[in-house]
Amino acid sequence: LKGYRKYFLNKLLWFLVTLVAAFILNFILPRLMPGDPVAAIVSRLAQGMSNTTGIQAIYEQYAEQFGTNRPMHEQFLLYMRNVFQGDFGFSFSQYPRTVADVIRSSILWTIGLQFPAIIVGWIIGNSLGALAAYRRGSFDKVVMPVSIFMSNLPAFGMAVVLLVIFGVSLRWFPTSGGYGFDLIPNFSWKFLWSVFVHYQLPFWSIVLITIGGQAIGMRSMAIYELNADYVKYSRFMGIKDRKIVRYVFRNAMLPQITGLALSIGTMVGGALVAEIIFSYPGLGSTILTAVLGQDYPLISATTLIVTLMVLAANFAIEIVYGILDPRIKAAQAD
């Protein structure tokens, strides 16, 4: 395992660098716009909230916390310190809740929904794609057009279609929320069942979207590999078909893993929008309420958290890739 250390450290360093860059972007983008954020906040508060003590408290707390009259680099240090302490200030739209509190109550829903869905979709999609490439014939003729069509449906479109068919028309599943309106989160069977039932539609809408794109990619990779010289050579050598298919699958899978790492950001973006359609209590719906409530601290914190999640997922995939790809072992051994 010694050979991996360099690879691992390399990836870790890259992870940290992107992390810092994400912090800087998250900090700087809203401040690049004309007009300082505090003035914008004040003008927005003036139109919106009726709770004057709330406004006063937020405004004072905000000006102090972010020190908006200080120079840029000091503001940045302050921002970093606050973030590391998990302190994102108060939420405008849900005062007196803190941003950290709002995010804490929604992040598990998003993680619990999206990562299993993307992984399940990835596995099913790749298996279908590989099967289509191997079998060809009528199986391929059915799987391919369906996959192409599904991968072109936007994530929210798939969500709406599933919701209307299974939620509104057939009434098999509830149409919105993460659990029944009449329940308080606890660990009873009734609550868990309610969560499970509410989970199905959002889950499958993300899975179906993921399947399409992955199946197309895997199919063309596998066709390419099946025509490679080593496959022909193995056939001449009389190696069993099943063994060859294993080689082919493994080789075709590697680019698919890299593809997953690179596209996970896009997938999460689409899945966040799908959450909104189902009013799922995750980060997507939080972003929507934040936007509707002109809740700047909440938006800034949610985007940062989403970025962190994507970066971490990316890092994890890179590590798995390093273990799976024999070329990396070979390269590190030198």
């Binding site: 809203p30 479109g157 709406v160």
Partner: protein, 416 residues
């Protein structure tokens, strides 16, 4: 060039995609000439009118009437006005009055009415029936009698001086008007939306705007990606390192997050459709830059490029004359994909409420946003959202098909 075009148009996939896209474009261009209404004009008072032909009632009274004696007319009239809850109530009464439940079929209007008239007795009190229930059944009985009456409806006008109603004409049940002779008939093929705006007019206009957003975003993204990719790939060295560092950063930082941050920072008032397109363009160049760079690197040491270098041509000349033509096909395919993903990005942003401002022009994303906010999907108002999804999917599908077709023409290895 001519030969290349011929080859492209021989690819079935490309032609299929191209025809879908061309049809959409044609509709977008021609429809406004036929229906010149403003897409954001509010015509309906109320939300979500169902698709159909709307005939002006006032005008149809004054239009010439024709008598048509049709057998099923009376039955149809009763069936359409005899509501589901009335049928249920009648069944309840009949069961209470002692009729066996198996003999009652609420879908069979004639039989149900027959059973009602033979059994109903306003003085009879069923067990457990309140006074209010009894009055309800008496009212129901009266309204059913009214339904069955064959008398003509009377048109009355208020006398301007005495304010007394005066009969000015009658409309018998056999009177018909010819739709062509009614002055005001409005066809709403896709009904109206939550604001009472014509969905079809809005959809066509929104498709046009969304395509423009996609094209602007795609052009910007492709231009940035192309320039960065060319410079990075051809110049190499430290320039390459810096550009690739930035590119790799933006690959892992989700562009959706950047879009949210930037759109929110711009503020609702400043967000026009064009601004959104530019923002999308500036956040989605990454893939093109990476791909162009790797293509350029593979071209950099080809003989014809080296020859050009030896001849003392400038870098700009070499890039434009010796490298660009080789990657042109690739860049066009990237552009097509960028356009379609730009349209999707706008839709996603709009659903979050961060799309173009709503007062200006409709876009596909904004239509989707309003339909979702007004719960069209829960209320079963399919015409408000389904055509939008289909349009988005069709545009993306057609562009993807064109791309696959082009890919097969330019990379013979991929042909089946």
């Amino acid at each position: 060039m001519k030969h290349l075009l011929q080859q492209i148009f021989r690819s079935g996939k490309f032609v299929a995609g191209f025809s879908i896209l061309a049809t959409i474009l044609l509709i977008v261009l021609i429809y406004p000439l036929v229906v010149p209404d403003s897409p954001l004009q509010i015509i309906g008072q109320g939300t979500f009118f169902a698709p159909g032909i709307y005939v002006n009632v006032y005008d149809s009274i004054s239009a010439p009437h024709y008598t048509l004696n049709l057998d099923e007319a009376a039955e149809r009239r009763i069936v359409s006005r005899f509501k589901e809850e009335d049928r249920e109530a009648i069944r309840e009464w009949l069961v209470g009055a002692g009729l066996p439940e198996s003999e009652i079929d609420i879908a069979n209007t004639a039989q149900l009415l027959d059973q009602w008239f033979t059994n109903f007795d306003p003085t009879k009190r069923l067990p457990g029936m309140t006074n209010a229930d009894r009055n309800y059944y008496i009212r129901l009985n009266n309204s059913i009698q009214g339904l069955l009456s064959t008398e003509a409806a009377i048109i009355a006008m208020k006398n301007g001086e005495t304010a007394v109603l005066e009969e000015s004409g009658t409309v018998p049940q056999t009177a018909y008007v010819n739709v062509n002779q009614v002055a005001n008939v409005r066809v709403l093929p896709l009904g109206t939306d939550n604001f009472g705006r014509d969905v079809l007019t809005q959809l066509v206009s929104a498709t046009g705007v969304s395509l423009q957003i996609g094209i602007v975003a795609g052009l910007i993204a492709t231009m940035i990606g192309l320039v960065l990719g060319l410079v990075s790939g051809y110049v190499g060295g430290i320039v390459d390192d810096v550009i690739m560092f930035i590119t790799n950063l933006f690959i892992v930082i989700p562009s959706f997050v950047l879009l949210i941050l930037i759109s929110f920072s711009i503020g609702q008032e400043q967000r026009g459709a064009f601004t959104i397109a530019v923002v999308i363009g500036f956040t989605s160049w990454v893939w093109t830059a990476r791909a162009v760079r790797s293509q350029v690197i593979s071209l950099r040491n080809r003989d014809h490029v080296n020859l050009s270098k030896l001849s003392g041509h400038s870098i700009a000349h070499i890039i434009v004359r010796d490298i660009l033509p080789y990657i042109a096909s690739y860049v066009i395919m990237a552009l097509i994909l960028q356009i379609s993903s730009g349209i999707l990005a706008e839709a996603g942003l709009s659903i979050l409420g961060l799309g173009p401002k709503t007062t200006d022009v409709p876009t596909l994303g904004l239509m989707m946003n309003w339909a979702m906010i007004y719960q069209a999907h829960i209320l079963g108002k399919w015409w408000a959202y389904f055509p939008v999804i289909v349009t988005i999917a069709l545009i993306a599908f057609s562009m993807n098909l064109m791309n696959t077709g082009l890919d097969q023409v330019f990379n013979p290895a991929l042909r089946d």
